[in-house]
Every structure is written in structure tokens, then in C-alpha cells.
């Protein structure tokens, strides 16, 4: 963990290259002339580290991945380190724009891989001896790689981290399109690799969490490096330029996931769950991200949609006992959820701020309690509503596998297709709303409700509309959820789920479209991968919320254009209480 505390100083000298301030000023100043050399050495050391042994002995739970007790290996995390190291050397040696910034981020990636694997072996192997020297064997791989990463970061800090360049080239249309296609396909492959890396977590596969985290660290470093070079920004510009084209390609690419290595029933199910929560989170994003109204009972709308669908699905346990076509069920679920959304939202006419959050929480709790008590016989209470039949078109049931030609697709693939389309539709709705008269009115209300009202915006109805539309989207997702999982129980819609959804929105970045999806993915993939930590899951989750609020309140995908309710402090807030305040750490 020492390495992690080393990293922050690297980000301090954000300004003019040669001037260093802060604790490490003297050191960095002295190192400045050797900055490039330091980067190259860092890369070399990292590669060297990757080829040393990483564990002194075979751990109790079995051999650590990538033959960690032996020298030499070009697979797994060792391969990742070699790639990161080579990239560092090349970038530091050849003067590319923003070289120091790239090197810094690559260095952070190296540090992450070294720390994750080193820490894992230390903890599982019972002490520092496991990654240094014990029983006559030496294994300094992680330590050496860590040093390499730190050297690279130091070098970049000494050289001065440049601002991110903004790239733009004038390429022929077809080249730009081709570029986008290639990049999106690459993204799909990376996502598939991330999902499958380490395999499914569980007893038989004790190291899946470590492998996955290490992959994330390496990929994160590489990604941050690309971002620093301005290439990602260029891709973003490109996709903004060809918006419709990008959306279509992205949709097709997303539908291609079942064809990759992640095309198993297990991952189809995980992806469907992510989709449900992503769609719900986007709905919540309308309420919280755009209109700035905090809703702490939002998962109730997902529940209402799910229970409505369950009752209309023909499940034997349902009180209503009628079976409507799935599409109709979806519409009804959405409408019912929307009506409840308007009801829950109606206190916004009189209540603002924190108090509104509490009102929504109370509504959420009332829903859970009522569902728990099987209100009106509609929710099954503690018995839930089981055996909800799968969606069927003609004779084909959505939970079966399909074979196209010689390719057999995993079962659940049709649900996957359905949820991808649903999420795409919800994203479209969100995007369209955001860029319309209505969306501007929401944002205006978020920014300054009185001024919005003075601009002729009838704030009351428009706020209720935010709740209504958000709840409608959640209701849609709920209908899907009921059919996909086959069981709807009140237990799935507790307060903690609302908090999780809210966290997904915040983690991803409030008010942004990809943010909610990214946030939901992270919050649902991590627990799947880190099964051996499942006891600590919520603990880590709670602490993570605190840390995010402290260090990166705007989330991963910061809304470039607008401060979503949380990002940065408003100028007048600073005036409210001057005095000795703890300094804010800039991410």
C-alpha cells in the first residue's frame, strides 16, 4: 500500500513544467533534467520486474496465476506489465505530445498491477516473505515492478505534467467511420476480456478477483494513457461528429457480446441484470442528475413495475391471474410506475432539498413494508411471486439457447438482446429529453429554482414530470426484470438498493448518459468478480461512497458541459463559511 500513497504527489505540479511546489519540490527540481531518462528507466525496471518471480512459494489455495513462482513469463499480468513498460519507454524516448502526462498515467497502471498482485500474494501467502524472500527462494517481482512504476511517475512529475492536447485531424469520411467501427469493436473485446479475465469467482477459482483487479489496473493505466495523449478525446469528438452513426455501431457492437468469449449463460445473466439497473439508473438520472431532486426511494418504481408485470404474467401465484402479451405488460407496468412516480413527486410542490429526499425515502419504505405484508394479495409477501413464465414469442421461449447455423448462442441471449435494446431506448429518451425545452427547464430548476420560475417555467408540474418520466423508465425495467429472473420478491427493493442505484448514478457521473451505465456495470460486475470478498462488499461500498464524495464528486464521466449538482463547489458556497478549511485535493 505504500506505493499508493506515493502516487498523489505526482499530480501536484499541474502548472508550468519547471516550477515545483509542495513537499517533493526539491527532489523534483533536482530530477527535472533527467525526467525523460527516469521515464525510460522506469519502463525498463517494470519489464524487469515482470520477468522476476512474484511469489516465493506455491500458495495454500494453489499456484498463483501466471506461474508466479518462476522467472520469465509473457502471459496474464506479466504480459500487461511488459506492454505498459514498453509503452512507457517508447513514449518517454520519442517526444510525443503530453509525454509526461502519458508516462504518469502508464506509471500509475504499473503501480496498480504491482500493488494488486503483490498485496494479494502477501495476504494469501501470509506475509511480506511471500513477495520478497523466504525459504531460500527470492521473488522480488512485485517490488521491482512497483519501483519501476514509481520511477516513471517521478520522472513525469519532474518533467512537468502537460495539459491534455486536443487533437483533430481532417480525414475522409470513410476513414473516420472505419476508425469508429474499429475502436468500438476493440472496446467490445476489452470489455469481454475484462468480464472473462479470471473466470467466474467462487471456491474453485480463488484468484479470480486478483486477476480481474489486476486486469482492471492495467487496462485503466492504458486507458488513462490514451486519454492523456488526447486520442480518446479525438474519438469522442469523432463520435460526437457522427452521432447517429456511432450510436448505431455501438448498438450493433453491444449486441455482439454473446459472440465473444463472454458469451456464456452466466455472463448473459449478469449483463441482463446490469441492463435492468442501468435502465433504472438512467431514469433516476433524470430526477437527480437533471432536475437535481434527490430520490432515496427510487427502487420502489422498479419494484412496482416488476410486481405489476408479475401479476399480469400468468404466474400461478399471482392474484390477478391473467396473462397478457409481454409488450402490453411492459406498457402497463411503465404506466403504473409512472403514476406512482407522479404521486411520489407531488410533494416537490411544497418540499425542497433534504426534506424532499426524506419524503421519497418514506415512500420507498412504505412500499417495501406494504410489499412485505403482501398488500392486497398482490406481492406474495415473504413468499414472493415465483414461477413467472419466460417471455415467449410463438413457441420460442427467451430463456432457451438458440443456434444460428453452426454457432450456438448461450441461453438467455434473447434476454440480453432485449435488454440492450431497452437500455438503448432509455438512453435515447434521456438524451432527447436532456437536449430539449423540457431538459433545459429541469437543469434550470436544478441551478436556480427561483430564477427558473422567473423565466416562465412552471416549476411544479415540470418537477413532477421528472419523477413521472423517471419512474416510467424504471417501470419498464421492472417488467423486464420480473420475466428475466422469474421471481419477484419485496426483498429486492429495499433502501439499500435505492442507495446502490444512486451510487451508480453518482459514480458514473451525474447527468451524463454513459455515466449511469458505467456506474451500474461497475457496481454489479465487481461483486460478481470479488466473491471471496463478498463479506466486505457493502463495507467497501459504503466507504467508497464516502471517498467518492470527498475526492471525485463529479463521478467517472464528468459532465463536461455542466456541473451536475455535485461537481466543484459553487462560488457562493465558499463565502458561506470562510476560515481554516481543509484544502481540497484535486483529482
Amino acid at each position: 500500500m505504500t506505493a499508493v500513497t506515493e502516487a498523489p504527489p505526482a499530480s501536484t505540479p499541474e502548472t508550468a513544467p519547471p516550477r515545483h511546489t509542495g513537499r517533493l519540490a526539491g527532489l523534483l527540481g533536482a530530477l527535472a533534467p533527467r525526467a525523460r531518462l527516469l521515464g525510460i528507466v522506469g519502463g525498463v525496471v517494470a519489464i524487469l520486474g515482470s520477468q522476476l518471480p512474484w511469489a516465493t512459494f506455491v500458495l495454500n489455495q494453489g499456484a498463483y496465476p501466471e506461474l508466479a513462482t518462476l522467472p520469465f513469463g509473457f502471459t496474464g499480468f506479466r504480459l500487461h506489465l511488459v506492454i505498459l513498460g514498453l509503452a512507457t519507454i517508447v513514449v518517454a524516448a520519442v517526444r510525443v505530445p503530453a509525454a509526461n502526462r502519458i508516462v504518469r498515467n502508464l506509471g500509475i497502471g504499473i503501480v496498480a498491477v504491482a500493488v494488486i498482485n503483490g498485496l494479494y500474494i502477501t495476504v494469501e501467502g501470509g506475509g511480506l516473505g511471500a513477495i520478497t524472500a523466504a525459504d531460500g527462494a527470492v521473488a522480488f517481482g512485485s517490488v521491482v515492478a512497483l519501483i519501476g512504476g514509481v520511477l516513471a511517475i517521478l520522472g513525469s512529475a519532474a518533467g512537468g505534467v502537460e495539459p491534455r492536447p486536443e487533437l483533430d485531424w481532417n480525414l475522409p469520411l470513410w476513414v473516420e467511420w472505419l476508425l469508429l467501427v474499429v475502436i468500438f469493436v476493440l472496446m467490445l473485446l476489452v470489455v469481454a476480456a475484462a468480464l472473462t479475465s479470471g473466470g467466474q469467482g467462487g471456491v474453485v477459482n480463488p484468484y479470480s478477483g486478483a486477476v480481474f483487479l489486476s486486469f482492471l489496473g492495467a487496462a485503466g493505466g492504458a486507458f488513462a494513457g490514451l486519454n492523456a495523449s488526447g486520442l480518446l478525446g479525438y474519438v469522442a469528438t469523432l463520435s460526437e461528429r457522427h452521432r447517429v452513426f456511432s450510436v448505431i455501431v455501438l448498438l450493433i457492437v453491444a449486441l455482439g457480446l454473446p459472440l465473444t468469449s463472454a458469451g456464456t449463460e452466466y455472463w448473459m445473466t449478469v449483463a441482463s441484470n446490469i441492463g435492468v439497473y442501468a435502465a433504472t439508473a438512467i431514469g433516476l438520472n433524470i430526477v437527480v442528475g437533471l432536475a437535481g431532486l434527490l430520490d432515496l426511494g427510487y427502487v420502489a418504481f422498479l419494484g412496482i413495475g416488476a410486481f405489476v408485470a408479475a401479476n399480469l404474467s400468468g404466474a400461478t401465484a399471482s392474484a390477478v391471474g391473467i396473462h397478457l402479451p409481454f409488450v402490453l405488460v411492459m406498457v402497463i407496468s411503465a404506466v403504473v410506475a409512472g403514476i406512482f412516480g407522479a404521486i411520489v413527486g407531488s410533494p416537490t410542490l411544497r418540499v425542497r432539498g433534504d426534506y424532499l429526499a426524506i419524503v421519497t425515502l418514506a415512500f420507498g419504505e412504505i412500499f417495501v413494508r406494504s410489499a412485505q405484508n403482501n398488500i392486497g394479495g398482490l406481492t406474495g409477501g415473504a413468499n414472493a411471486i415465483p414461477n413467472i413464465p419466460a417471455v415467449a414469442v410463438g413457441d420460442f421461449r427467451f430463456n432457451e439457447s438458440i443456434t444460428i447455423g453452426s454457432v450456438q448462442l448461450p441461453s438467455g441471449v434473447m434476454y440480453y438482446v432485449l435488454i440492450v435494446l431497452l437500455v438503448a431506448g432509455v438512453m435515447l429518451v434521456f438524451g432527447n429529453l436532456k437536449n430539449s425545452r423540457l431538459g433545459r427547464a429541469w437543469i434550470a430548476i436544478r441551478e436556480d429554482e427561483d430564477a427558473a420560475s422567473a423565466m416562465g417555467i412552471r416549476t411544479g408540474p415540470i418537477k413532477i414530470l421528472a419523477f413521472l418520466l423517471g419512474a416510467t423508465l424504471a417501470g419498464l425495467a421492472g417488467a423486464f426484470f420480473a420475466h428475466k429472473t422469474g421471481v419477484v420478491a419485496y426483498d429486492s427493493f429495499r433502501f439499500l438498493e435505492s442507495v446502490t442505484l444512486l451510487s451508480a448514478v453518482i459514480l458514473g457521473g451525474m447527468g451524463t448518459i454513459p455515466g449511469a451505465v458505467l456506474g451500474a456495470s461497475i457496481l454489479f460486475v465487481l461483486p460478481e468478480k470479488l466473491r471471496e470478498f463478498s463479506d466486505y462488499r457493502l463495507l467497501i461500498f459504503g466507504l467508497a461512497l464516502v471517498l467518492i464524495m470527498r475526492f471525485r464528486p463529479q463521478g467517472i464521466v464528468a459532465d463536461k458541459h455542466r456541473r451536475a449538482e455535485l461537481a466543484e463547489e459553487p462560488e457562493d458556497a465558499a463565502k458561506e463559511a470562510p476560515g481554516p478549511l481543509p484544502t481540497r485535493v484535486e483529482p
Binding site: 429518451v429 430539449s436 425545452r437 433545459r440 436556480d448 423565466m455 417555467i457
Partner: protein, 327 residues
Amino acid sequence: MSEEQATSPDDKVGTATGEELPPELQAPPEEVVAVLAEDMHVATGTREPILQSSGVSMVFGGLRALNDVTFSLGEGEIIGLIGPNGAGKTTFFNCLTGLYSPTSGQVTLRGKAMPKDPARVTQAGVARTFQNIRLFPSMTAMENVLVGRHVRMKQGPLSSLLHGPRFRKSEAEAHDRAEKLLAFVGLGRFSDELARNLPYGDQRRLEIARALATDPSVLLLDEPTAGMNAQETEATRQLIFAIRDLGVSVVVIEHDTKFIFTLCDRVLVLVQGELLVEGSPDEVRGDPRVVEAYLGAPPEEIEAQIHAGATTGSGTGGSGLQEGSTG
């Protein structure tokens, strides 16, 4: 922001004459004004009364903030509202814009009673700016003005959702108008800049553009030159003249009497909630009662009176930690 700029008169002697102003401070070009005037369809020429108040009084607790104020704004007129601190100018403004409903008396717009809700007042054609700038800080200048177009745009929730041809048409029209308005106030170059990143004077101008976007027939400006330097003040004067040329009637609150006297057709002096004097700038300037009101009762004294009145209104008591905090 809240503190008023105590500009001494000699500050702006030089600038009222023809010193070269930077481009964004110059009066809007005539062709822009012409195009906008056509867009906004605001009738010009007649001097018929458009905004009227009769016997408006406003009582807060034990304090009489406004007492029987009657006035009338003619079409195409610029009226100035001056008075010492705490004279009730902003209260009067808030009565005119539906933020407060007067304790007695009534406000009419073109003979019809003014609606109670600020949003409907705007819809009816009365727009305002705020004493302490209230822009939407994280929206761009363009988006701020687009929000101003809200009431004039025909876009229901459904078309917002589907982005059909009618949606695109109304968006295009709104953007077009917003661009013209930004050019009109001299902010054409800053349309993609976040409002909070604009310099202070530009923020004031943006607020005016946003208010104009609602196609008002009456524009109420609450201290539009507070905190501005002499040059910017002069630019604001030109801008208000140009707004009048669009056919919009204007009411201005200001502390800076020199600014008011060189801008307005008529000036109203409000002292302790009462309309003391009304007349042309020359008449008002020479009126001994005005001089007395300004010199005889220093603002501190009036303010002290107000505070005395305010505290008698709300009692203390209970064992609360937080008793008198404001909302």
C-alpha cells in the same frame, strides 16, 4: 455582489462623451435591432398605459413596506425608480412580478389583473432581472437564453421525447433568436461559454438577454449597473435605449441617480414605501423633497427603523438551537 457601488459623479464625466468603447460595449448595431424588433412583434409608437398599479400596499408583519403606490407605465417608455435604501423599491418590483401578492391594491397589465405566479407573469409579458445576478451558472450563455425562450416555445413532453420535425423547427427558431439576442447584448462570441465563467458585466448583460428572450412587453431591471465601472454603465445605458427601440417598455431601479436622470423619460421617487415625487428627470432633480429625502434621512436611520419593525414581528422563545434562521 450585494453591496452597491458607491459611484461618485465625477467617475463618469469623461465617458459619456465619445470615447472609443470596446466592441462588446458598443450599442447594438442597427441592423440587429431592426431584425430583432421584427421578430419580437412588440408594438411601438403608442404611449398607451401598459403596466399599471393602483393603491398597492404591502405589509410584512408590523412593517408597512409599501403604502398606496399608484403608477402607470406607457408603451415604449423608460421609467426610473429611485429612493434611499429600504425605500421599498425591490418590494414594489416583486409585487409587479408576482413574487409577492400585494396586501391591498392591484397590479394590471394591459388592463388585466396580473397573475399571481411568477411563471405566469413572465408568460403574460413581464420579464425581469435580479439585483444579485441569478443566472444558471453551469449552463452556457446560449442555454441561458434558450431557457428564456421556454414560454414561447411550442414543445410538449412528447415532442421533446421524439425530436420530430416540429421539434427541430422550434429548436432552430429558438437558437436563431438566442443568437440574435446574444449579438444584441454584445455577447455573440461567448455563446458557448459557461455563464459562471463570464466576467461580471457580461453576466449582467446575459441576464438582460435571457429576460428579453421571453418576448416581454415590459422589462424590469433591478440595479442593472450595480458594480459596473463607468464605461460599462455607459454601455448599459445604450443597451437600454436599444431595448426601448425594440418596443419594450422598461422600468429600472437604480441607486445611481445620475444614471437614471440621463436614461429615463420619467422618474419615480419612493421613500419609506410611499411614492414621494413623480415627474421628468428635470422636475425630480430640482424637487426639494427629493433632496430632503436623500439628505435629511440618512439610509442608516431608515434601515434601523426597518430592523426595529422586523424584530417585533417574530418573537423568540422556545429552547431551539436555531431560532431565527432564514429560509
